[in-house]
Amino acid sequence: MNKVNKNRIGIYFWIFIAPAIVIYFTFSILPFLYTFFYSFTDYTDMNPVNLSWVGLENYVTVMKNSLMRVGIQNSLIYAILLTGFQVILGLPLAVLLDQKLKTQNLLRAIFFFPAVFSSLIIGYLWKYILSSAESGLINSLIVSMGFSTVNFFSSKFALYSIIFTQIWQWTGWAMVIFLANLQSVPLELMEAAQLDGAGSIKRFFSITLPLMCPSVKIVVVTGLIGGMKVFDAIYSMTGGGPGNATQTVMTIMMDKGISDGFYSVGAAFGVCFFVVVLILSAVVNKLMSKWSEAIG
């Protein structure tokens, strides 16, 4: 390829990529830089123009605020449990539905179906199903069996009730990712292992599971990051309550950072959250890489 052609390719490359770069810079990079800047100012709804530099004051406020610690703790519990159960339930489900069953496609569709809907819709639906009113679906069954109603949205259980509904919704999505990976596992390997006398459990742990590393990595990384950012499921089911029992990073940022007008504290909280997610992603990536190397 001569030099003129190389230059032309270079020009076309930049022309085609320019819109994406402009959009990404305008709507992602620039807002983040602004957020970082505002986190060192006294920007509130009462002081939107004449901003002053306050150093690390907003970060100190974030660290001292027990509600913000509750938010990070709840987000971590949500992300870890949801991702963990997605893998624990999604993986065997994928292996099961990779078998030659007559109802294979139907079952795959049924398990994936909840993921098609918005988390808000699913949230409002489960709010009615789990309601402690006698008209709530589960509680009406409990009452009809002669027991008293159960409050699934008490301070103790509310977060776990929400996690349960999200496991119900997103396990099918993880299953599809695992299925795609499963179908790339070479049949020859399985047949050879079978000839060597390996049973199905031995084949799963020695061949299937190690080769599933790429899909597990996708599910874990996207699940953890998505879980840390949870907002819609919480908003639709409990709104962060009762009290502050189900507040997460995003609901607190909405309430404190935006609704109450503490923009600079909200910005500092956002930067802290970014660092937490960055560290979490790095740790998960490192662990996954070690797993890949171990089986490689």
Binding site: I23, M46, G136, D260
Partner: protein, 432 residues
């Protein structure tokens, strides 16, 4: 080569579209389809015929204002109101952002808290000459530095709806004190009827119920200046409200408010009441139509909240939305004309049309109280309608923290911690 040229053109078009899309609309782009119509530029408002379009924002849907909008169309024919509904959850955020960018609505519906904030920031036009037409009770919560910045709409109130048939069939008299109210609730419990339906998944019911009790016991007596002291940072709930909340807590200890209710939302609680499973339900005129739709046969009435002493009772409420004018509006004079039309008996009647039950703060404007509120009429006539957090100034948003902390209180948190947490939220807001 042809393909490359087409690709180049497409890419250029994409970039140009993005830039144009993000750009600001200029006056030259505002040409209307009717090229023959006479056009005259007034500020930056869109003009259709002789009318100037003014934007009005509110957190209630348009049907709650339809009669007023019809009236304004005839009373101020040179103005066309473009109604902008913004959901209550996002209302302050949206309006704050628009105002700070000097692109806010011409007429803004304000809560007392947001009116104070916007007045302090210089976003609102002073309306003293119109404010004089209203009673002080209505304008005081919309005043800042002795100037009135918003005109009070029809008042809102919340009391205790009750199923008259359930009371009469079981021979239960209406209570006159808090202790009698607790006794009534116990009688219903003994008969296997839920005394009070409450959707405590929302932070509002216990906020209003407990504050009504404190209003009756303290804020209307020894604590009349509590609100003004609180907004100056000179008063706090912890240490002051404890004895009143401890007494009110019989609502919890007697099993009227239960932990199970934390898993029930407002609509489900209303269903329980409307279907006769519960005898009482706390709410206001905005739910009356829905209750009657669910059970048209219901014999509905409303009683006020009570303190320990016999009285006319108390309702939680105050001036509804306050109508304010954006100081940056290009059409302040026309917006004033709209508010002048609103500040007449006819304007108030039109506003009341879709908000029946409330009363007008305009001097001389009086409307008949619907029969469904007859048992609350003594409280209304005595002027016992009070919203404590309206006096909290910039700490007014802390009433939500109050409601949330009371959810935790019901779920086992001790009272001192509950009140201390609310005080901290108040201090945080006052520190801005």
């Amino acid at each position: 080569m042809k393909k490359k040229i087409i690709s180049l053109l497409l890419a250029t078009t994409m970039v140009a579209t993005t830039i144009v899309g993000c750009g600001t609309k200029t006056d030259s782009q505002e040409t209307t389809k009717d090229a023959t119509a006479t056009k005259e530029e007034v500020g930056e408002q869109e003009i259709s015929g002789e009318q100037v379009t003014l934007r009005m924002s509110y957190w209630n849907s348009e049907d709650t204002m339809s009669a007023l909008l019809d009236y304004l169309a005839t009373a101020v024919p040179e103005v066309k109101i473009e109604y902008q509904f913004v959901d209550n959850d996002n209302y302050n955020t949206v309006v704050d952002t628009q105002l700070s960018a000097e692109e806010g609505p011409d007429i803004i519906c304000e809560s007392p808290g947001s009116a104070l904030k916007h007045a302090r920031l210089g976003y609102l036009q002073e309306l003293n000459y119109l404010g004089d037409r209203y009673s002080d009770a209505g304008t005081s919560v919309y005043s800042y530095n002795d100037n009135v910045y918003a005109l009070p709409g029809i008042s809102w109130f919340e009391g205790i709806y009750f199923n008259k048939d359930l009371f009469e069939e079981n021979g239960i008299d209406l209570p006159k004190t808090f202790d009698e109210y607790i006794s009534v609730c116990k009688k219903f419990q003994e008969m296997g009827i839920k005394p009070l339906a409450a959707g405590l998944m929302s932070w509002e019911p216990m906020l209003k119920n407990s504050m009504a009790f404190v209003a009756a016991e303290y804020l209307s007596a020894d604590g009349k200046d509590f609100g003004s002291k609180l907004r100056e940072g000179q008063a706090q709930l912890e240490g002051t409200w404890n004895p009143y909340i401890e007494k009110w807590s019989e609502m919890i200890s007697e099993g009227i408010y239960t932990k199970d209710m934390l898993g029930i939302d407002h609509t489900q609680a209303m269903d329980e009441f409307a279907t006769g499973k519960a005898a009482m339900f706390c709410s206001g005129p905005w739910d009356c139509e829905a209750i009657m739709e669910k059970n048209p046969e219901m014999n509905l009435d409303m009683m006020p909240f009570f303190g320990t002493q016999a009285s006319d009772g108390w309702l939680i409420g105050g001036p509804g939305c306050g109508f304010a004018i954006n100081a940056s509006s290009k059409n302040v004079d026309l917006a004033k004309k709209v508010l002048e039309a609103l500040s007449t008996n006819e304007g108030q009647a039109a506003l009341w049309e879709n908000n029946q039950g409330g009363s007008s703060y305009l001097k001389g404007a009086e409307f008949a109280l619907p029969e469904v509120y007859s048992s609350a009429s003594s409280a209304l006539n005595a002027g016992n309608v009070y919203c404590p957090w309206n006096e909290w100034g910039s700490a007014a948003p802390a009433h939500q923290n109050y409601g949330l902390e009371f959810q935790s209180y019901l779920d086992g948190q001790d009272l001192d911690t509950t009140l201390t947490n609310i005080d901290e939220a108040i201090q945080e807001l006052l520190s801005k």
